[in-house]
């Protein structure tokens, strides 16, 4: 146990801080997604060109060939520098890296990591939410193409995306988890219709995808046929980590904003306010240390497993605690910013739903980590 930077880590941190000092935009992050998206994407592209994205990906696919500890340092310093929110799509490169052919990695990873091409995750369907293995979208092999038919939903950033990592059933006779394959689907392909869905906070953050006889080349399958479930589980395990999705710095920024609000409103906050602020700060500190521990374990090279459900529950708990705090502070209806915080609060309710609901995470912890017997079907 040694939480000091090694000499290389210290040099890395030094270079990073110097870069952030020069490059974090001074203009504030727009509240509305339609304006926030280009703002976030531009910063992410800039960050990539600076050499600060995909730190733990190999250099030949556009990464930096560093390790998880550098990812932890990045996350910490982005928060300190008050940098814009990252696009929470970092986890989508992982399956391409692990299961992609040489050609697929060369073609897709560099622009994905550079945010020049945007990806989305096409797993959920109207009939297949928590029970993902119930998905019905079909992929049928015809000569040198796969033909896709089906309906995906809750596809985050679907309206902005160029490609979708999409799960479809290739073997209708196989039971549930088997018989599912993963595909790389260009959203520009004929037969794809994207319909935005408006979130409760007004953002058009996700979409439905309709697939009508969409033909994609045979080589657009990722991994082997029937690898789909394994690939999906890998993706969600990465998605459940706070660092991969860049949420840690975002939460730190929220907390600073709330502290600033308290400070401008009163010179002597009451005990209850101090306690509530302290609790949010403690929660973030717990998240920071937990991420450090998770990443440190990962330095040995192992991809995340079911323990990532703890990270996911923690991330959700921190976000929802921050949002509860914001509501308890902004009680005065005349205060500017109240409606924006309320929108963030609404968004915070999604944390315990996407990436597998909080109940599903608990099922995983109980059965996979604690070894409790499976529930009767």
């Amino acid at each position: 146990m040694d939480l000091r930077d090694s000499p290389e880590e210290a040099r890395f941190r030094g270079r990073l801080c110097a870069w952030l000092k020069e490059n974090v935009p001074a203009d504030p992050e727009p509240a509305v997604l339609a304006e926030r998206w280009p703002y976030m994407r531009a910063f992410q592209q800039h960050l990539y060109r600076g050499g600060w994205v995909a730190l733990s990906y190999p250099e030949e696919v556009g990464g930096q060939g560093l390790g998880p500890m550098e990812e932890a340092i990045l996350s910490e310093e982005l928060g300190r520098a008050n940098a814009p929110t990252l696009l929470p799509l970092g986890h989508l490169g992982r399956p391409l890296l692990r299961y992609g052919t040489g050609e697929q990695r060369r073609r897709y990873l560099p622009p994905l990591l550079a945010s020049d091409e945007i990806w989305c995750q096409g797993f959920s369907e109207p009939q297949a939410g928590s029970d993902l293995a119930a998905l019905r979208t079909r992929a049928v092999r015809e000569d040198d193409a796969w033909v896709l038919n089906g309906h995906k939903t809750w596809t985050s950033y679907g309206v902005f995306a160029d490609f979708c990592l999409l799960l479809a059933r290739t073997d209708p006779d196989a039971v549930r988890h088997r018989g599912i394959s993963a595909f790389i689907v260009p959203l520009s392909a004929p037969g794809v219709t994207v319909r935005p869905i408006v979130l409760a906070n007004g953002d058009e953050e996700f979409a439905e995808l309709f697939l009508d006889d969409v033909r994609i080349p045979a080589e657009n399958i990722l991994g082997r046929p029937e690898d789909g479930w394994r690939i999906a589980m890998d993706v969600v395990n990465y998605e459940r980590g706070a660092v991969e999705t860049g949420y840690l710095p975002k939460f730190e920024r929220y907390l600073s904003e709330l502290a600033e609000f308290v400070k401008t409103r009163t010179s002597a906050p009451d005990r209850a306010t101090l306690r509530a602020l302290g609790e949010a700060a403690a929660a973030l500190e717990v998240l920071r240390m937990h991420c450090l521990r998770t990443l440190s374990d990962r330095a040995s090279g192992a991809p995340p497993g079911p323990e990532s459900s703890i990270d996911k529950l923690l991330m959700t708990a921190v976000e929802q605690k921050l949002m509860a705090l914001s509501l308890s502070l902004l009680t005065d209806t005349a205060v500017p910013g109240r409606a924006e915080w309320f929108d963030r609060y609404l968004y915070g309710r999604a944390g315990s739903i996407y990436g597998g609901s909080a109940q599903i995470q608990r099922n995983i912890l109980a059965e996979r980590l604690l070894g409790l017997p499976r529930s009767p079907a």
């Binding site: 146990m1 040694d2 939480l3 000091r4 930077d5 090694s6 880590e9 500890m69 932890a72 340092i73 907390l255 600073s256 502290a259 600033e260 308290v262 400070k263 906050p269 005990r271 306010t273 101090l274 306690r275 602020l277 302290g278 609790e279 700060a281 403690a282 929660a283 500190e285 717990v286 920071r288 240390m289 937990h290 450090l292 521990r293 440190s296 374990d297 330095a299 323990e307 703890i310 529950l313 923690l314 109940q359 995470q361 608990r362 099922n363 912890l365 109980a366 059965e367 980590l369 604690l370 070894g371 409790l372 017997p373 499976r374 529930s375 009767p376």
Partner: protein
């Protein structure tokens, strides 16, 4: 940067676990623990013999020259077994006060040999401002340590000792003749407080971990409606929540075990505060949930679940409750913006 425990620390963990398991069979009865006297003395002398009481004391002062992380590994294991020894009070809080607060050298040496030193707190188990009146983790014959108004750790003979019947019969408190005490303002005293917070967090994490293990074992064995209760989702989710609390407590506590000793004082205090506040609240939740999973037997004196919950409440209250750390964190945040 790396987070994991070292091989030596894993050995330390196993050793402490094994000693406790031998002395306090996992049988659900408080007998061995509640009898106090003999077994407490036996475990304590074993810990002293293995140099585990003096882990925080540098070698040149007669100690084992270990790290706070080492001491937390021991405290966690002791918590897991609800071991009735004054480890947090003597080996962590008093040792840290003597070491970082410039206490007399010969006291440190005696502490390492197994003499008990209670930290002196106020009636609310908080850092005393003005006078200290309560000996925390008191045992017969203990001496008291307090931060005197000049900012140095001072050792006191305890006079007019009056044991208090408080919530935890295994970690005792005693009212003593008041001694003058100052607030932790100097760097050394602040670090000592951060160390005490972290040590309490480690014990609390262990208490919670023990409750989790007990609950999971029970949920696998105990059958109702012809199946193990652990196959009911309502019970599973209780266990999953316990696991969440235990693992997050572990993350922040071990992070603090490094920071409280090595980081600049402001950061040390920040991380230790979070550890104390989080592990305290989490341990109480987990010990309560553990009782729920056990059902009726959990609320009897025939099971040790109540001792675990008692111990969790006492250590959550120690060194200023969750209030002091939370207010400190809020203060830091407000200074920064």
């Amino acid at each position: 940067m790396h987070f994991a425990l070292s091989e030596d620390q894993r050995v330390l963990q196993r050793t402490t676990d094994e000693i406790c398991a031998q002395l306090f069979a996992v049988s659900p009865v408080g007998d061995a623990r509640a009898d106090g006297g003999a077994l407490r003395a036996k475990l304590w002398s074993k810990l002293a013999e293995l140099d585990l009481v003096g882990l925080l004391v540098p070698e040149h002062q007669g100690g084992a020259g270990g790290s706070l992380t080492d001491a937390c590994v021991v405290a966690e294991a002791l918590g897991r077994h609800i071991a009735p020894v004054p480890y947090v009070g003597t080996a962590i809080a008093a040792a840290a006060l003597l070491r970082f607060g410039d206490g007399p050298d010969e006291s440190l040496a005696r502490l390492c040999r197994g003499d008990a030193y209670s930290v002196l707190l106020d009636g609310g188990l908080d850092d005393p401002a003005g006078t200290a009146t309560v000996a925390f983790d008191w045992v017969d014959g203990a001496l008291g340590v307090a931060l005197s108004p000049d900012g140095r750790a001072t050792v006191h003979d305890l006079v007019d000792v009056d044991p208090i019947t408080d919530v935890d019969p295994l970690h005792r408190l005693a009212r003593v003749r008041p001694v003058p005490a100052g607030e932790a303002s100097g760097d050394g005293a602040r670090r000592a407080r951060a160390v005490a917070w972290t040590g309490a967090a480690a014990l609390l994490t262990g208490l919670a971990d023990g409750a989790l293990r007990q609950s999971v074992d029970y949920a696998r064995e105990r059958e109702q409606y012809d199946r193990p209760i652990g196959s009911f989702q309502a019970v599973k989710h209780l266990c999953a929540d316990m696991l969440f609390d235990v693992e997050t407590s572990r993350s922040i506590t071990y992070g603090a075990s490094w920071a409280a000793e090595h980081a600049p004082i402001d950061e040390a205090e920040r991380v230790a505060s979070a550890a104390k506040a989080h592990a305290g609240a989490a341990a109480i939740r987990v010990c309560e949930t553990g009782i729920q999973v056990l059902g009726g037997i959990g609320v009897t004196q025939e099971h040790d679940a109540h001792l675990r919950l008692r111990c969790a409440h006492l250590h959550h209250a120690a060194f200023g409750n969750s209030d002091a750390p939370l207010v400190l964190l809020a203060g830091r945040l407000l200074e920064k913006v």
